[in-house]
Assembly symmetry: C2
Homo-oligomer: 205 residues x 2
Amino acid sequence: MPDAPARKPSRIQLRNRKRILDAALEVFSRHGFRGATLDQIADEAGLSKPNILYYFDGKEAIHVTLLNQLMETWLDPLDHMDPEGEPVEEILAYMHHKLEMSRAFPRESRLFANEILHGAPRMAPHLESGLKPLFMRKTTLIQSWIDGGKIASIDPRHLIFSIWSTTQHYADFDAQVRVLMDGEKGVLDGADTYLDTLFRKLLAP
Amino acid sequence: MPDAPARKPSRIQLRNRKRILDAALEVFSRHGFRGATLDQIADEAGLSKPNILYYFDGKEAIHVTLLNQLMETWLDPLDHMDPEGEPVEEILAYMHHKLEMSRAFPRESRLFANEILHGAPRMAPHLESGLKPLFMRKTTLIQSWIDGGKIASIDPRHLIFSIWSTTQHYADFDAQVRVLMDGEKGVLDGADTYLDTLFRKLLAP
DNA sequence: ATTATCTATAGATCTATAGATAATGC
DNA sequence: ATTATCTATAGATCTATAGATAATGC
């Protein structure tokens, strides 16, 4: 059972597992879970198919490992919203950070989007145990800012949804954005300016 | 070749093709193209698998037919944005209509989202020929409203993206919204109020 | 000695077709 | 006569394993 080894994982173990997960991110984010094949992942990783299965228990195990590993990184910025900071700037900084993630990590965004779109079959537990408590904490924080008259009175939950949706759109619907923006450069810069205006006007007390 | 029949399609033809497309919408929107099987579609339609293939040339043909048929309905509301109307109200009416579509047609929304997310392999031509000209016309219209001082000066293209993303989010990311809203009733009503405020503040001249 | 990798292939799943049979419309 | 439907199965694609061989670390 080389998967989840009891003792010290060798350097090769670590390197190959990483290569497989990198390859899997590429393939799964492009084709979805069912659309991806072990052949594609093996090819992308530069390993043979049976060798992939030497490091992971199966296709599903690769996918689950990938989702779990990325979940943390993905949620991290929301946790950085600081109760001590200036409310409008804290929320806007989060929005800008999220947009930056669409630019830097579009594959991660699409991987999650695909999983949620299909009902989160492999991620539902993590949504409950990881995302939800964080979401609750932050909506409570935003509500306290509203109650303190620091920002306009809006529903904090829908505020967060709208930050997520507007920023992720540029990664998840990239194919459509590309067609409509006609290969224009700096689309994300334009989005950055637009979304800053949008949320600044919304939040002004 | 009963598919695309030269003459008059019989009543049975019409009824069964419709049943297959209904079933395919259900199955494709839930599992994506690769995740869906003809068995599932046949089952959902209440027909045998070979019978499905009697009416359509194959799995791909069903998917393409479905996308094409839905495209028109899907874009229709955008075309209704009236150059003669009151600018802010026209844009807000479009937003509300789009949100209503997330409520009424979540499967259609997810079908498209899935297609775009995977790079629009079967829809790229339609994006170019159908969506793009419409998008250009409407961004031009919105720009003319801006130039006339009727609404605030913002990038019309990003405005449309943000209307799409915020409204579709409730259909496409339903699984996540459900977890975070804890099965609360009237989520879409809350969204309607929130988004009305969001865009009204943005557009105010 | 243990870990890592390969070739070959079993076994499952899926799309699609062949060919026979039943139902429908002039 | 033509259209619609069914059973049976071919053929392709994919996941996963068996079993042998090569590379690595005490």
